[in-house]
């Protein structure tokens, strides 16, 4: 579904990532690690088409990103849930509406989805914060809301950039559990994190592969974890 073929990306200076080839198979669970500044976020952006590779090819759902028009990108993003490190919301709408935004913009805001929304808000521990505005939330609450927003469309793929960066251990376990359950429903998950404890905790529950970015290359991390 997401395929990188000999992909490289540079921000003008030297190459940040080079010669990266990867096929994300449906139902796989990946962790992405690497020192900060190594290009984890850039890699994720290549994976959802926010960046176009400077060389090589990226294919989303069998479509080359260079050949996709803006509507194709919009459609692809409905199938890829993204959680950013710095989650952005529509600050004038309550958090429940922000979580439901993907449904709203795709015209799928049905009654059934409405009850799903409530359930989802409870799941991420925001049940009683539904009417709060995004600026009133703490960093951890924002990340949970962003995760809820990323999964509400039941996407094929969820890409999360440090989703547990601002939450305590218990909450990070709950978020991980949610992602694992999504994975068991057949979704493809990729989590960028430097929290090795989180990776260890996941490995006992799901068959996860760990990718590491080092020296501009993507490597499969061994059993050292």
């Amino acid at each position: 579904m997401i395929e990188l073929d000999n992909t490289a990306y540079s921000y003008g200076g030297g190459e940040l990532l080079s010669n990266i080839s990867l096929k994300l198979a449906p139902g796989s669970f990946h962790f992405l690690t690497g020192p900060s500044g190594s290009g984890k976020t850039t890699f994720l952006k290549l994976c959802y088409g926010a960046l176009v590779p400077t060389s090589g090819h990226v294919r989303l759902f069998d479509q080359d990103v260079r050949e996709m028009d803006r509507d194709d990108h919009a459609m692809a993003r409905r199938r890829i849930g993204v959680v950013h490190q710095d989650c952005q919301f529509l600050d004038h709408l309550p958090i429940a509406d922000n979580v439901a935004l993907p449904l709203m913009v795709s015209g799928r805001e049905t009654l059934e989805n409405h009850s799903n929304l409530k359930e989802l808000m409870h799941w991420v521990g925001l049940g009683n914060r539904a009417s709060a505005l995004p600026p009133e939330l703490s960093g951890g609450e924002r990340q949970r809301a962003a995760l809820a927003r990323a999964v509400i469309m039941s996407p094929d793929v969820v890409l999360a950039d440090e989703p547990t960066g601002n939450v305590d251990w218990e909450m990070s376990q709950r978020l991980l559990q949610l992602l694992i359950e999504l994975n068991k429903m057949g979704k493809t998950i990729m989590i960028a994190t430097h929290d090795l404890n989180l990776i260890r905790a996941a490995k006992s529950k799901v068959q996860a592969r760990v990718l590491r970015i080092a020296n501009r290359k993507l490597q499969l991390a061994g059993a050292d974890l």
């Binding site: 926010a50 803006r70 509507d71 529509l90 935004l101 913009v105 469309m153």
Partner: protein, 301 residues
């Protein structure tokens, strides 16, 4: 036009949610409404000018096209003979329906505005005037002049063309000027709304980024802005037209003589024209905002 039903659908049914995703904007919204209102107000006057000068051109054309005047200057004794000869000649000329010599009273009335009521017309060598009514086809002015020269040497034929043409032309130009003004007003409205829409799009860059992230298509995002600006333009223009029509109504009524400036206004079906201004302003806003939004969005990543 397929565009109209879609336009109405977007506008009335619309997507209230699409409207909600863009934060409300107080001050700039009022500026757009005000600009649309001011433009509609001006459009009412441009329209009134066009219609009034159009009427004027038609009136001058119609009333003067089929009439001419024969002026006979002759020594005292021959006046009656020449007048009779001229009338005889005129009535046998093809293309002339009627010819009538003006009475002394009528001639005095014509001169009164210039010389005052106590003018002793009888004592003055005032030429005799003959009013000629033409048929639809008209007569051959050159031929008539030749015959008059032979039979009534003191007669001068004035077929009004000499001074009717420039007047008609002036009225026509004035009407054209009015329509050009209306076009310019529409273009200026489009410009103002494009600028306002661009400002709104730039101010909401983060909102647009979030919407793109969660899979909103450009058309969805554009719709939120388009609906908003179209409604503002409609509302502003409606107010502007009402105020403009009020101002036209307050103008002094036209004089019986049909003075030019006081004749500015609407008559009969002409009153329906200003009603078209708000929908047209809405249409202009719809296309201007849609164009601006599509262009701005296509430049984003």
């Amino acid at each position: 036009m397929r565009v109209i039903p879609r336009f109405l659908n977007d506008l009335i049914v619309g997507d209230v949610q699409a409207d909600r995703v863009v934060p409300p904007s107080g001050f700039t919204a009022r500026l757009t409404t005000f600009a649309a209102g001011a433009m509609a107000f001006l459009a009412v006057f441009a329209l009134a000018l066009s219609l009034a000068s159009g009427r004027l051109a038609t009136r001058w054309g119609d009333e003067l096209a089929h009439s001419s005047t024969l002026r006979i200057s002759a020594p005292e004794g021959q006046m009656a003979d020449q007048t009779a000869a001229a009338l005889r000649l005129l009535l046998t000329t093809p293309g002339i329906e009627a010819a009538r010599a003006l009475s002394d009273e009528e001639q005095r009335a014509l001169l009164e505005p210039w010389f005052g009521p106590d003018l002793p017309v009888e004592d003055l060598p005032v030429p005799q005037l003959i009013e000629i009514q033409e048929t639809q086809e008209g007569y051959d002015a050159a031929g008539l002049r030749l015959r008059l020269q032979a039979e009534v040497p003191g007669a001068v034929l004035d077929d009004h063309n000499r001074w009717r043409r420039p007047l008609e032309q002036a009225a026509g130009r004035l009407r054209l000027l009015g329509w050009v003004s209306i076009l310019l007003i529409a273009a200026t409205t489009a410009t103002i709304i494009t600028l306002a829409a661009n400002a709104a799009l730039a101010a909401n860059a983060q909102v647009i980024a979030v919407l793109r992230l969660v899979g909103a298509r450009d058309s969805y995002i554009a719709q939120a802005f388009v609906r908003r600006f179209t409604l503002r333009a409609l509302l502003g223009a409606a107010v502007g037209v009402v105020v403009g029509l009020g101002a036209v109504l307050l103008l002094p009524a036209a004089q019986a003589e049909g003075g030019f400036l006081t004749g500015l206004g609407f008559q009969g079906g002409g009153w329906l024209w200003p009603v078209l201004i708000p929908p047209l302003a809405g249409l202009v806003a719809y296309f201007a905002t849609g164009h601006a939004a599509r262009r701005t969005l296509s430049e984003l990543d």
